[in-house]
């Protein structure tokens, strides 16, 4: 192990400060007694209490959750299918075009995506509401799922599927019984990615949301314009907590599984 030098320690702490100082300030001020955001007046959890009674925030949170679950699930199905076609079906006319178009939403400015979706929904006469947000979020997050899943599929040993076929599986059974269980971690992390993307999206949601449905980010944004309130800080802290817990759990599970596998393989190699 190399020692942590003075230079490395400094750059590490500067880097972390850059990343996490804003969030830290937000968390600290969410426990502020004072109504004024910039003045510290002692520790209190009262803003968390008022938050629970704020029906508008709770409604928005529910809408956000519904949108995130629905859109990330649809995006995972579509994105996985797209990834399978991209990786598996060798060359077909228009393959380059297809793969380019799958990845385009990754680099497309969100404003453009949001605007074009808005025009589409107006064009086909779809009333804006929870359904349009779900559709819009599915559109851009399936590209992310496709990227995650196809990078796993590239290293997937094709002969596993052939073995399944050889042992009597239909193509669909081979996918269901062999491919899907093996690529499941990638599919799940694709789902999680889509879920978080949907959870914090503001731009596309504000184009496609209607008066009947408002998501949490929109709600936060619009109340900020009336002035920052400690309530918003509390809400954001809860969201940070949820996201952090999810990420930490996921990484712990993966880490433990890989450690266990390594230990098993060592044991297997020794006992021959």
């Amino acid at each position: 192990m190399r020692r942590l030098t003075w230079f490395n320690a400094t750059s590490l702490s500067l880097g972390f400060a850059f990343l996490y100082l804003p969030m830290l300030i937000l968390i600290v001020y969410s426990f502020n007694e004072s109504k004024l955001v910039t003045v510290w007046a002692g520790f209190s959890t009262k803003w968390y209490g008022t938050l629970i009674q704020n029906q508008a925030f709770l409604d928005a949170a529910l809408v956000t959750l519904k949108v995130a679950v629905a859109s990330s699930t649809i995006a995972t199905v579509l994105g996985t299918m797209a990834a399978l076609v991209l990786v598996r079906v060798g060359r077909f006319p228009g393959r380059t075009l297809f793969s380019g178009m799958i990845y385009a939403p990754l680099v497309m400015p969100e404003v453009i995506t949001g605007l074009s979706l808005l025009l589409l929904f107006i064009g086909i006469g779809l009333d804006r509401g929870i359904l349009t947000i779900i559709l819009a979020h599915t559109t851009f997050s399936m590209a992310f799922v496709a990227v995650v899943v196809s990078s796993r599929l590239v290293t997937f040993d094709r002969s596993l599927e052939e073995a399944a076929l050889d042992l009597g599986c239909s193509a669909f059974d081979a996918f269901r019984l062999v491919t899907l269980p093996i690529i499941a971690p990638a599919v799940i992390s694709g789902w999680l990615l889509a879920f978080t993307l949907s959870l914090d999206d503001l731009v596309i949601a504000s184009f496609t949301a209607g008066p009947s449905a408002t998501t949490l980010p929109i709600k936060i944004w619009s109340s900020i314009r009336l002035g920052v309130s400690p309530e918003i800080n509390a809400l954001s802290t809860i969201m940070i907590g949820i996201v952090a817990a999810g990420v930490i759990t996921a990484s712990l599970i993966t880490k433990r599984a890989s450690l266990r596998q390594q230990a098993d393989e060592r044991a297997a190699a020794q006992q021959r």
Partner: protein, 374 residues
């Protein structure tokens, strides 16, 4: 005891299990298999041997159903298998990477194919136990593939592919991932299992020793063609071409022109030296170019000129390869050609008879070398 020799390929009455009829396979411009016609019989252990890219894996994949012939037909038990998808064929394959399902236990891996057949639970359990016993894996049944060693994984792959009692088992480089010691043991195990189950095995390998050990017949392939398909002994002792002679084992090829003389032929191979003598069943015209294939172990090496043999040449030792059980001498004979001679080291503490730069005599009998056409 009237024990009959297992040689169905010499029996005109025998019905082949697999028939390739003018099979060609092209990938774009590349011809992987070139107009192939040959038969494989029931209970055979048939080896496809050749360098990488010779088409042996393509042949196997056509049998398994992962590739379709571009032209020609493949018959299994008299039935054209082209329209039958891989999951409906009575053919199973053991993959080079073993392709064990990592999320299933050894037991479930073996049961996988049986479950697809909608067999009863008891029948599946009985069959899996039988396979575990056959491959000596009973104690590992509950383990996952990554919890067992490479050799055990190989046996799981074998058990899984044998579980459905296929008419034909395909083995793609089955020992590729094993170390040398384990490989030899596994080869004998494989022959034993093949004999016990009576299944027809087709094995693909680039390891000639492996092919010679396990197979009843070996097909030597090159560029999508079978150059020679015969028993290991005939492949080694009576190769039909320079390619086969050179591919299997060590050999010295001496090229010259043939001339009929008595019962055999004289082969002139260099200016100013007496011709070599050889016998051949194939006919050579006088003046026809020919190649003598000479195995090193059939060449005797001595300090004095031997009188009892007609094929004697004088040479100088350039290199000695000591292999423990054998020593191979690389001798430069008059005319500048290299000839390999091999002696068995039957005594442990003997002084080496010859050393570098020694002048020696090489000799071999008239029947030792094989005459091959261009």
């Amino acid at each position: 005891m009237g024990q009959t020799v297992f040689e169905p390929w010499n029996d005109p009455e025998a019905k082949p299990l697999i028939q390739f009829k003018g099979v060609t396979k092209r990938f774009g411009d590349f011809t992987a298999i070139d107009n192939l016609t040959f038969d494989i019989y029931e209970r055979e252990f048939f080896a496809l041997l050749g360098p990488s890219g010779c088409g042996k894996t393509t042949m196997m994949r056509m049998l398994a159903g992962f590739e379709k012939p571009t032209e020609g037909k493949i018959l299994l038990g008299g039935q054209d298998i082209a329209p039958i998808p891989p999951n409906k064929r009575a053919v199973n394959m053991m993959f080079q990477s073993y392709a064990l399902f990592p999320h299933l236990s050894v037991w479930d891996n073996i049961a996988f194919g049986l479950r697809r057949d909608r067999m009863s639970k008891d029948a599946i359990a009985a069959r899996v136990e039988e396979m575990l016993k056959l491959t000596r894996l009973t104690q590992f049944a509950r383990r996952k593939p990554h919890q067992i060693s490479g050799g055990q994984r190989q046996r799981v792959a074998l058990a899984r592919s044998l579980a459905k009692a296929p008419k034909l088992l395909l083995l793609d480089e089955p020992m590729g991932a094993l170390d040398a010691k384990l490989r030899t043991a596994t080869q004998f195990e494989l022959m034993d299992i093949q004999e016990k189950t009576g299944t027809t095995f087709v094995i693909v390998t680039h390891d000639q020793e492996e092919a010679m050990t396990v197979a009843s017949r070996v097909a030597v392939m090159d560029n999508g063609r079978i150059i020679q398909a015969d028993t290991p002994a005939r492949i080694y002792e009576s190769p039909n071409s320079v390619y086969v002679a050179d591919f299997i084992g060590e050999v010295t090829i001496i090229s010259g022109t043939a001339r009929r003389s008595g019962a055999g032929y004289e082969i002139a191979y260099a200016e100013g030296v007496p011709p070599l003598h050889a016998e051949s069943e194939t006919h050579f015209d006088t003046g026809e170019p020919c190649h003598l294939a000479l195995r090193p172990e059939k060449v005797a090496i001595s300090a004095e000129k031997p009188s009892e043999r007609r094929n004697t040449v004088k040479g100088r030792i350039i290199d000695i390869a000591y292999l423990g059980n054998l020593s191979t001498y690389h001798v430069e004979i008059e005319g500048g050609r290299m000839v390999k001679a091999q002696t068995a080291n039957t005594r442990r503490l003997s002084r080496r008879d010859f050393t570098w730069e020694d002048t020696v005599w090489l000799s071999w009998s008239d029947t030792a070398a094989v005459m091959l056409k261009d």
